[in-house]
């Protein structure tokens, strides 16, 4: 559990530093979301759920969000991804992209709903964000997902050897 958490912190740092220096300022792929989705494929619900919760907590910690919306949304994303992972064919480039795109979009909508539920804002002010940020960000997240999944898969034998074996063993049980 510690190693994936450290990997999560590494991605958070990348997201808040290196990706923020990109020419398209605030529109950048959500690396932590991609990592959370990958955790859904690799980890069992409980340990993975706790990891997703911690990823959300870290997101909230470094963002201007005072209440902690990501602590709610990230475990939900993880559990939804776990639910869908066996119902869809997710091996190909396009499917992985679409999967991440859809989850980024859905999480954005969930954050939007939470924001309006907790601290009501004029909706008109937030709608432009869908087109200026959420859609381009979801698109970029979708594009980056196959590449990162490939990197994760290559590194997973080293990083997550233990849980992978556990899943395989669990899968073959009658």
């Amino acid at each position: 559990m510690i190693f994936p958490l450290l990997v999560g912190i590494f991605f958070l740092i990348l997201q808040t530093t290196l990706l923020s220096y990109s020419p398209i300022q605030r529109v950048r792929p959500d690396l932590l979301l991609i990592f959370t989705l990958y955790l859904a494929f690799l980890f069992p619900p409980i340990s993975g759920g706790i990891l997703a919760f911690l990823m959300g907590y870290l997101m909230d910690l470094f963002s201007g969000n005072t209440l902690g919306f990501y602590t709610v949304s990230r475990p939900l994303v993880f559990l939804a991804a776990q639910f869908f992972k066996e119902r869809f064919y997710l091996e190909g480039f396009s499917f992985q992209s679409l999967f991440a795109f859809a989850f980024n979009l859905l999480e954005g909508i969930l954050i939007f709903i939470l924001m309006n539920a907790v601290q009501p804002l004029p909706l008109g002010d937030l709608y432009p964000l869908f087109f200026r940020f959420l859609l381009p960000q979801s698109f970029l997240t979708g594009l980056a997902t196959p590449l990162l999944f490939f990197v994760f898969q290559k590194g997973s034998s080293l990083l997550f050897r233990q849980p992978e074996r556990e899943i395989k063993e669990g899968g073959y049980r009658p």
Binding site: I13, T16, Y21, L32, F53, Y57, L61, G64, P75, F133
Partner: protein, 295 residues
Amino acid sequence: MRVRDFFIVRRYYLFIFITLLLLLALVLMSLRAKERKGVEFFDALLMEVCAPAQKASTFVIKTVQGTFGRYVFLVNLEKENRMLKQKIAELQTESHRMEEMRLANERLKQLLQFREKNFPPMIGAEVIGQDPSSWFKSVTVDKGERDGVKKGMAVISPAGVIGRTLKIAPHYATVLLITDYNSAVDSIVQRTRAKAIVEGKGENRCQLKYLLRTEEVAVGDAVVTSGLGGNFPKGLMVGQVKKVDKKGHGVFQYAELVPSVDMTRLEEVFIIVEPLPPSAPREEKKVKKGKKGKK
């Protein structure tokens, strides 16, 4: 009975776990809303663990950028040099004019017996990270509680207002930018002295709220802090009016503002570390109360 309960728990353990996880997240949300010390302590602890890596990463990025900037991208150097020399000449002329104005201002102040206002003490801080999400606008700086930074302190730059401190760790702090939806700064339009609240609108934009329809505001008008909120000193540049709309109904008009500071390129900031003296209207109120008390 106990054995049966155990099997029921095992059967629904996943459902119980999900419920507990979401409940925990909601409890955390509630504790944060109430600003409980325990959550703040845990936040500060995690921030202390993660922020040094963030600082190191920013340092590496800046060093690499600096190296490229200094030695590789020197193509337009001559042209830039000529432009800068011209700019220096212009600024020198302006500086002479300003000096004259300063002296005139001092003479007039003496004539009017104005009290000298001291600008509150500030500390410089380096921006070490941006907001990880696209919905919220904040930055992380490398100064915290040990440097005298407290929650709600004003953060500025030479160009104008940046925001206020939101989360504090011993050596680091998160600054909520004025472009965030949760941000509000009491301001006035410099030319007409019309009062308004500058609220964040995401991206690099703000809006002027509660600006009376009867007030005359034009595109290009400068908006400065009123000093009434208690966080920001009076007269700091907030931004320029970009759009004015009086078409709708109601008491207020709509105006959009471009902040004077480019929030997407923040590198160094100043934090005002000492509370500001109470503003004039409050003093007046106290005097009035005192008089009433004497009566």
